[in-house]
């Protein structure tokens, strides 16, 4: 199924969790935050939150800034 990941089309298998998505991107263990359809998905819920077709996912991190 298709989702929007950081503004781009992205294909995942059905029933993929946020945790599995993060791992498939090689980002496991990194300091990041995830938003799904403009709601925060707390880290504690990544393993239990399943993606649905059309979900808009944002994965962000901290970078240098003023």
């Amino acid at each position: 199924m298709q989702i929007q990941l950081n503004g781009e089309d992205h294909v995942v298998t059905d029933d993929t969790t946020i945790a599995a998505l993060v791992e498939s991107l090689g980002l496991q263990g990194r300091r990041l935050a995830v938003e799904r359809n403009e709601d925060i998905v707390p880290r504690s819920a990544h393993a239990d939150t399943r993606l649905h077709a059309g979900d808009r996912i944002e994965i962000v991190h901290a970078i240098g800034g003023g």
């Binding site: 991107l25 990194r30 938003e35 991190h61 901290a62 240098g64 800034g65």
Partner: protein
């Protein structure tokens, strides 16, 4: 025996001796210089400049993770120790209240519930001037959601009062446009804000060199926040040290209280006992 509190290169003096700390939303800081982490050559220079500045509060930006590239790039939050620094996520780059509020919520998740944020809602790309209508809206939402909001704003005393009434924990007017290095263009409105505020006032944006940071502190600012002035100096580490000293000097002069000005001279040496022919 070494005194662990003695200043060293990596642990520089950060305050006027005997001064009270800067208190923002109940958090105490000895340094009144807050710094950004953008625009440095690399992560090493970022870390060294921040250490040299003596800053305890460091701002950062929240951005989409680069997918599939630079996976091994060091993460800012891994380079700067959370034991040593208070992180201040910044909504820079947001042009409306909705994006700014989303960014703050993502930052809170990123920092495991840490709720101190710098709210900055911009008006246009040429001036990066704050959009006050959207700033007020975002401040209301964030305060209601439990955030401690340090707010970037124009140097308008009425807006500053409104932001304080909403519950912002620090008012941060610009000295001049972000990244311009033009210094403090309207010290009089800044003084009005300082006189009337019951929360800390920090100049955020526009400072270009050490005398301007000292001037901000002499006016009675509780602190200053800067990024470009250090990062874009020819030698960032030297400038970081200069800014550290300038903020301490300006604060010292403010606490000391400057002499009155006069239009005519007054000799420093006594007139009596002069050898005159």
């Amino acid at each position: 025996m070494t005194d662990s509190s003695a200043p060293t290169l990596n642990n520089p003096v950060t305050q006027v001796a005997g001064d009270s700390p800067l208190i923002v939303a109940g958090r105490e800081f000895s340094s009144r210089l807050l710094v950004g982490t953008g625009k440095y050559k690399d992560m090493d220079e970022t870390r060294s400049a921040i250490e040299t500045s003596g800053a305890e509060v460091v701002t950062f930006a929240v951005r989409r993770t680069n997918l599939g590239q630079n996976a091994d790039e060091p993460n800012l939050l891994d380079v700067l120790s959370p034991d040593r620094y208070t992180f201040l996520p910044n909504t820079a780059g947001c042009y409306n209240a909705r994006d700014a509020v989303r960014t703050c919520k993502l930052a809170r998740e990123l920092l495991d519930g840490h709720n101190l944020v710098k709210l900055e809602v911009l008006g246009d790309q040429d001036t990066l001037y704050p959009n006050i209508v959207e700033t007020l809206k975002a401040a209301e939402e964030l305060v209601a959601d439990g955030f401690d909001v340090m707010v970037y704003t124009s140097d308008d005393p009425i807006v500053a009062r409104q932001l304080e009434e909403i519950g912002c924990c620090a008012i941060m007017p610009l000295g001049s446009l972000i990244g311009s290095g033009l210094g403090i263009l309207n010290p009089h409105t800044l003084s009005l804000i300082i006189e009337r505020a019951n929360v800390p006032v920090l100049v955020d944006a526009g400072l270009g060199t050490a005398s301007e940071a000292a001037f901000a502190m002499e006016l009675g600012c509780d602190g200053v926040l800067m990024n470009s002035a250090i990062a874009h100096a020819r030698q960032p580490l030297l400038m970081a040290d200069a800014m550290r000293q300038a903020v301490i000097s300006g604060r010292g002069a403010f606490l000391a209280g400057r002499m009155p000005t006069r239009l005519t001279a007054r000799a420093s040496s006594p007139g009596a006992g002069l050898i005159t022919g």
